[in-house]
Symmetry: C2
Subunit: 156 residues, 2 copies
Amino acid sequence: MKGTKGFSHIAKKRFELFLDTHDYRKTPERFAVMDELFAHEGHIDADGLFLIMRNKNYSISRATIYNTLDLLEECGLAVKHHFKNKNALYEQSLIYQQHNHLVCNDCNKIKEFSDPRLENIKESVSKELGSKIILHSLVFYGDCTIVDCENKRNEN
Amino acid sequence: MKGTKGFSHIAKKRFELFLDTHDYRKTPERFAVMDELFAHEGHIDADGLFLIMRNKNYSISRATIYNTLDLLEECGLAVKHHFKNKNALYEQSLIYQQHNHLVCNDCNKIKEFSDPRLENIKESVSKELGSKIILHSLVFYGDCTIVDCENKRNEN
DNA sequence: TTACATGCAAACCCTTTGCAATCGT
DNA sequence: ACGATTGCAAAGGGTTTGCATGTAA
């Protein structure tokens, strides 16, 4: 999602409330991970965050990153995705409205879209199969049809 | 998918043709894995197949299972899913029409559904984002609303 | 002060890989 | 017979865990 800059203080408030409520400690590491996730546009994996923070000479361990990402997911500030990769990708979700992903077969870039018709499908399925649907994951995989796409074939 | 019994000879024909075309060898292990996948209703992981076959005293290695599942996926006889699990789940796809999955938050059981409106969404996204969509993955995660659901809370 | 969180490294789990033995063609 | 395929075990890569140290409350 774009345009999330300047919203991290709202995220911080929500995170603090969450930590308070659950009697979790407000450690600097946890806020640092949150900040880094919110500073990053798009999707990133745990190790990506780890490397970025280390490169900034912020001392942190992978274990703490994983732990914090779980907390962020738990309080709805992060969404965890399992695309075809073997590792999980995260994205901040403060202004997350359920959106979906199109993964490009050519360059692996991820585009986002949303479509109201998905809600209709959800409602039908809820009734038919007897489930209160809490979340969904819709991913399309496709070949690029954009002529001279700037992203095309730039994987190494 | 249900009702796939008795279709494995068709699968076998398709697999043989595929192996011939690609100059891959028709080993008994490959057909054994295919048979086992087609004998299994629903989703199963590589290790699940491995254990089933070992329990039948069929001597096979994990490496061969993984290799064969790749081949089956390549020729369209198997579909590989990445749900929230860390391991991949496979299902036979001889009579696979694109269908989608509802994963139960209570018991982890997987139900299937399909909805024609998804095709409409696909068409819109194809045009909007410039992509020829080859495949998709739609998964709903929901809480069971079925009273006295037989599957409810039987995880250990 | 005291229990919870961190950091590190080892353990874990699923999957892939290397190589000698086997077997399809 | 030749070379692809198998089986095994070891390596790999992402994630989790155990434990001593550090630190928020």
